[in-house]
Amino acid sequence: MIVLDRVSFSYGARRVLRDVSVSIGFGERVVILGGSGEGKTTILRLILGLLSPDAGRILIEGEDITGKGDGALRDVRMKFSIVFQEGALFDSLDVKENVAYCLREYTSMSDEEIEARVREILASVGVEQAIHLMPEELSGGMHRRVSIARALALSTPKMFLYDEPTTGLDPVNADNICRLIADLSKDGKGFIMVTHKVSDALKVADRYIFLKDGALLFDGTGRELLHSDIPGIRVFVAEVCPPGPDCAEEQGGKHV
């Protein structure tokens, strides 16, 4: 269980989150929606202990992580795997070594086994041909997919965090990534996905959280999201579900 207990956070004078309380189970499939700069990435960073809240507590499986150092947070962080919005590949290592980074440290696999595993994961995100390229030689979408592959390399995390995994991808690849995310969550591993694209979100998640002005504007199922008449949310939903009687039933019905 991930619990944010009345968490406030600001960057200097800029308040990003105000008294946010939410709890998310490790098996849940959650999407965080919200406009640009509303603090979605900030929430993920808080959960991982990369940032410390100004007020409030963050509990991961009952353990209070607020204000702890990197050494103490190690076990907590190993429960997660994150795909950063920027990809954040190690730019001095090639694609293969990027994906193999954790395998080398945390498993005793031989070089051949690692290579085989890396190829397998890269194939699942459709970039196996890039295995020997350096990060600077990748296109934006390939970069994103390699960083997803890297996050998937270890099978130990209990929960995946995706920060806009489909932004900047063509529809076919975005669809593949969504399917991959859905597949990975089949064996009880949950995820938190941050995105602007309601259409992608609806394909994968059960629970939707909408952030606005540093607070949770909405927290509920896909059907509720589509039926919501909160103006801020309607704008987001209009993309998949223009105002009209049937659309919400049809879209939300698939998943609820």
């Binding site: 960073r45 990369l50 050494g71 190690r74 962080r77 954040a88 954790c102």
Partner: protein, 254 residues
Amino acid sequence: MEIKRLLSDLQDFYALSWRGLAGIVRRPFYYKDALIQMDYAGAGSLLIVVIVDLFVGMALSLQLSAELSNLGMKMYIGMIVGISVVRELGPVVTALVFTGRVGAGMASELGTMVLGHQVDTIRVFGFDPVKKLVTPRVVSSLIMLPALTIIGVAVSLLGGYYINVFVSHQSGTFYWSSIRNILTTENVLAGAIKPFVFGYLIAVICCYTGLSTRGGAVGLRQSTTMAVVLSIVMIIISDFLLTRVLLYVLGFSV
């Protein structure tokens, strides 16, 4: 407000310096990272250290020869070159070269990693960035700067020899025997402690400034400049303090 920030920066710096060093004896160890750093810092700096120290040795010998020949004391060149190179110039010059080549590299590499969220990725993967990034660099500087200093001193003495024999026309055998005479335990110790201190200072200063990089390309420029400037100033100041202490401890009268 400024003072408060300065104090908290200093506190962070001391914490990093201590944890970077303590990482040497605390699990987990990242041997491979240390080896890569040692290759970069040591093997990669060898040529430039050799060139710089060679010319420093030659220039010093030449200057002394010009001055001492007026006094008819050219036979002392070997002794003076030996003492100044072993106790002072060798360690300091090598450390300055090391700062420019390796320290600046550390700061800009770590700074780029911070800006590209690579350091965050390392943290999320469960590594302690101090252990994974700082300790290997501290280890490599602690081993490689002393090693380079030994080579640098030897090359400086060779440079001195060359000038002494082929330009000032003195006896080479006498030069080496006066060098041998000044290689006493006290003289060697007075020089040998320094590169360890300098290496440690360079590594922690450059890692700290690199890891505290904020604000894009300009921030990177500032932190790299800061790393080099701070390292140079600290090397020169600590060299003076060390000289003072070592001369006292080793029983030289000044």
